[in-house]
């Protein structure tokens, strides 16, 4: 089976820097699976996700191969890629005064023409279905600015789901969400992969990420290891990448990361 995403020899260099942001990255994501990208701060997780989405800012140099469904990314037209790969950025802001409905409708843009035509019934049907699915239909006339963080997150999720893309990329989707909303998110992701969608997300919440079908461990601009939390070598690599400041333990069929006290605590130096 063709991988949903295949990355080979990927390197990214920012202008005016010597060390590359990403270097010789190899990674694959299987279709209909949830891949989590984890790693310490500044490791290049978000850069990697942006690179595969084709969203690096201008000026960044990219080399190596990125293939979606076996086709190199530069052979996809901009619109075709937008229909195949949907993107949910980190803390997308703006549009505070808009109603949820207006925001979710933007998800239909990749399938529409430029001119703001009379709304297509098929698009409207998809928007409604997506909003019902994410439990945002009752909020459709509420402006984004007067919503709670969890409601807003659901609207944002509805916006990317309304693209009806095969692949969903999410950069830190759980930022500023409390544990119940994190649990909701996990359920949606599992539902999405159950329906055949591929999800790739950068996550800081290790305990959520450890439940992913597949994990890319990123550190110092490289993918150091790929696999599941249930593989012992993978767990060892994760602990090492975080400087052994965390340890992974099984609790109720799940792997959880617990913080480790440092042997040489800095506090005693004072």
């Amino acid at each position: 089976m063709t991988a949903a995403l295949n990355v080979k020899h990927l390197g990214v260099q920012w202008p005016d820097t010597d060390t590359p942001a990403l270097h010789e990255v190899f990674a694959t994501a299987a279709p209909a699976q949830w891949t989590a990208i984890i790693g310490p701060n500044g490791a290049g997780k978000s850069t990697l996700l942006r690179a595969v989405a084709g969203l690096l800012p201008l000026g960044a140099q990219l080399h190596g191969d990125i293939e979606w469904q076996g086709r190199p990314i530069n052979t996809w037209s901009r619109q075709a890629l937008a229909r195949h790969v949907a993107w949910l950025g980190q803390g997308e802001q703006g549009a505070e005064e808009w109603r949820a409905l207006d925001v979710v409708r933007l998800g239909r843009l990749p399938s529409q023409t430029w001119w703001p035509s009379a709304s297509d019934p098929e698009d409207e049907r998809i928007v409604e279905a997506t909003m019902r699915q994410t439990d945002t239909w009752s909020l459709r006339h509420t402006p984004l600015g007067s919503m709670s963080g969890g409601e807003r997150q659901r609207v944002r999720l509805a916006r990317v789901m309304a693209v009806r893309a095969k692949v969903l990329l999410m950069d830190e989707p759980l930022a500023n969400l409390d544990p119940p909303h994190q649990a909701d998110w996990l359920q949606w992701i599992q539902a999405l992969t159950g329906q055949g969608h591929t999800v790739i997300s950068v996550l800081h919440e290790l305990n959520i990420a450890l439940r992913a079908d597949h994990i890319w461990l990123v550190a110092q601009g490289r993918v150091l290891a790929q696999g599941r939390a249930s593989d012992a070598p993978m767990r060892a690599a994760i602990e090492a990448a975080f400087d052994h400041r965390i340890s992974l333990h099984p609790i109720q069929d799940q792997w959880v990361a617990l913080p480790q006290a440092s042997k040489h605590s800095n506090l005693q130096a004072d």
């Binding site: 937008a82 802001q93 549009a95 505070e96 409905l101 703001p116």
Partner: protein, 333 residues
């Protein structure tokens, strides 16, 4: 169950109709009234009504509409509700060009006919505005970076403003001539100017409508807009062209008119929450009504003298924004 309507409120349409009614009322009042008093047209040949007041009212409305449209586009493009359509430097470019034109022509042919002067000044203002925007874009090295564009606009405005001051310092006699332009002047609008304004307005509205969805997507952020597969770069060029063309034409016909472009989209937002297709249209209509109202007030307030309309819009527009800020706690403009 019958299919539910996603959007049962045709609220923007109601506002558009209300604004058109206001326009019609303003146009009639503007045609009948003036600094020399009320005057009922004596026929289809009535000079005061049909050659002075009617084109002036139409021109004032159109100028306001161009500024309102450009304001809505600029605020969407820069994702900043405080963006003014003049922020790319068109006003300072026009001011410099007009001052320069008076210096050159004033020296060469002091008694050139007023008509030639007016066309020449208008042309100079328009070119100056466009050149200033081009200079801003060149300084910003393209249109991709909003921050660079804003900085470029500030630099261009400051430098061109300094050059204008230098010219007026050297040739103080042009001050009397340029003052009308600097304070905004709707008194000289003719049918000829309204034709130009209509042509520019229609073109700008069509392009802005075509790019409205890009502006919608941009409100989520550049990255999200790119991920939706939109031709951002092309749209930005087109939208900057719209802002340049609208402000250039407005400034050339009526001088520097403050606050209409900034205030019109805010007024619209205080009525209804709309995406850019409607925001642009309603802002244009609102800008038109605002400037037409300001023009009528400028004629009547100190009759038989006239106030420069730019002073009035700055006072009223500034006052309105201040009132919004004071009155509505938590109002995020």
């Amino acid at each position: 169950m019958p299919p539910q309507h996603l959007d049962p409120t045709p609220k923007p349409l109601r506002w558009a109709l209300a604004l058109l009614v206001l326009t019609a009322v303003g146009w009639v009042v503007g045609g009948l009234s003036g600094s020399t008093g009320w005057h009922w047209p004596t026929g289809s040949q009535d000079v005061l009504t049909w050659t002075i007041r009617a084109p002036r009212s139409s021109g004032a409305w159109l100028t306001g509409a161009l500024l309102g449209l450009a304001g809505a586009v600029a605020q969407g493009l820069f994702r900043n509700p405080l963006a003014d359509p003049f922020l790319l430097g068109s006003s300072s470019g026009a001011a410099l060009a007009v001052t320069l034109a008076w210096v050159v022509w004033g020296a060469a042919a002091p008694d050139a006919s007023a008509w030639l002067m007016s066309v020449g000044i208008t042309g100079a203002a328009f070119m100056g505005a466009l050149l200033a925007v081009l200079l801003t874009v060149a300084l910003a090295r393209g249109v991709q970076h909003s921050l660079r564009l804003l900085l470029g606009g500030v630099v261009v405005s400051v430098v061109l403003g300094a050059l204008t001051s230098l010219l007026t310092l050297q040739w103080p006699q042009v001050l009397a001539n340029t003052q009308g332009f600097m304070l905004g002047n709707t008194a000289l609008l003719s049918w000829q100017s309204t034709q130009v304004l209509v042509a520019v307005g229609l073109l700008a509205w069509l392009v802005a409508q075509a790019c409205a969805r890009v502006l919608d997507a941009l409100s989520l952020g550049t990255e999200a807009a790119r991920s939706l597969g939109l031709p951002l770069n092309l749209a930005r060029w087109l939208l900057i062209g719209v802002v340049a063309l609208c402000t250039g034409a407005a400034v050339a016909q009526a001088g520097l008119i403050a606050f209409i472009g900034l205030a019109a989209p805010h007024v619209v937002r205080s009525w209804c929450r709309v995406t850019h297709a409607w925001l642009i249209t309603l802002s244009a209509l609102t800008g038109g009504v605002l400037l037409l109202a300001a023009d009528i007030a400028a004629r009547l307030l100190m009759a038989p003298n006239e106030l420069p309309v730019g002073i009035l819009t700055a006072l009223v527009g500034g006052g309105y924004l201040l009132w919004r800020l004071q009155n509505k706690s938590g109002y995020a403009p």
